[in-house]
């Protein structure tokens, strides 16, 4: 099984995702270029963080039209796994693969800090190696991370258990203080209805070794590996 990591103009966490998958996880990965027209046999697609097209206009708005995205959308339609991290999450929302939108952080500042995430659902191909309710310490680094969706959309997400991660405090409570960007209902990550596309603002690929402050992010990649290789 093979990961495919897409580089858009302005991606800057593509190397990090590549290293997390190849070195920390020990899996195979292929670099994919935004102008490519095929996925080179990748089974899992990662849209990494960064500032594709400078995040000009709206984060992810321009990257969604890259040639490679046509293939990524096809792959997702076939049920293939797609993980969008930070800017990748924004691209997934812009392209309609995930519902909702990510707007400017409520405090109007870029925020880089380590947040606590609560695993809301371990019943996904991205979280099955975590415990339900497990608390993870993972960094965020973004200016546009405020997840927004209309009321009916939110109800649908809740009903179908599509909220995967929430921002919580050290005691596990989804308090306003624990919310780094004003996201609706402290939402930090969601999956699509079918469960094969996940977007999350925090960066699991940055916490995969003790040297870099823990391995709490590794579970995301291990979960995919466990599911897809099975």
């Amino acid at each position: 099984m093979k990961f495919g990591i897409v580089t858009f103009p302005g991606s800057n966490c593509d190397d990090d995702a590549y290293l997390a998958v190849t070195e920390a996880l020990g899996a195979t990965a292929e670099r994919l270029w935004h102008k490519d027209h095929d996925l080179r046999g990748a089974d899992v697609i990662i849209l990494p963080g960064g500032f594709s097209y400078g995040d000009y206009l709206r984060s992810g708005a321009i990257a969604r039209f890259s040639p490679i995205m046509r293939e990524v959308v096809e792959h997702a339609r076939r049920g293939g796994p797609v993980l969008g991290i930070c800017n990748g999450f924004q691209i997934l929302c812009e392209s309609g693969l995930l519902p909702g939108a990510l707007l400017r952080n409520r405090q109007l500042q870029f925020v880089c800090t380590t947040v606590v995430l609560r695993v809301e659902s371990r019943d996904t191909m991205f979280t099955n190696q975590y415990r339900e309710g497990q608390l993870l310490r993972i960094p965020v680094a973004h200016g546009d991370g405020r997840y927004t969706i209309d009321d009916s959309g939110l109800a649908r997400l809740e009903d179908a258990h599509q909220v995967v991660f929430r921002y919580v405090d050290g005691a596990g409570n989804a308090s306003p203080e624990a919310n780094p960007n004003g996201s609706l209902d402290n939402i930090a990550g969601i999956v699509n209805e079918r469960g094969n596309v996940m977007g999350m603002m925090p960066h699991p690929e940055r916490v995969v070794t003790e040297l870099l402050g823990g391995r709490d992010g590794l579970g995301v990649f291990e979960s995919i590996l466990a599911r897809v290789a099975a």
Binding site: I62, F65, L103, L108
Partner: protein, 85 residues
Amino acid sequence: MTRFRIAVHIVPRRGILDPQGKAVADALHALGFATVKDVRIGRHIVVDADAASPADAEADVRAMCDKLLANPVTEDYEIAGVAPL
């Protein structure tokens, strides 16, 4: 073909939190502009493009808005003006 200048406003949809607008309103109050009741902030996009007629120019820009310039989940747009250059 004539060259037109088309102006578009992209505004946050009502009901969507506009922290920027609020921050600016607060800042204006702090600066002594007590009469300010509300501020909303959107984008002002000016497109210069060739088209056969003003109506065509407008139709083109609407297509650009639908496709790229506005996010249908959170934003509304309106064409604010079409003028030959």
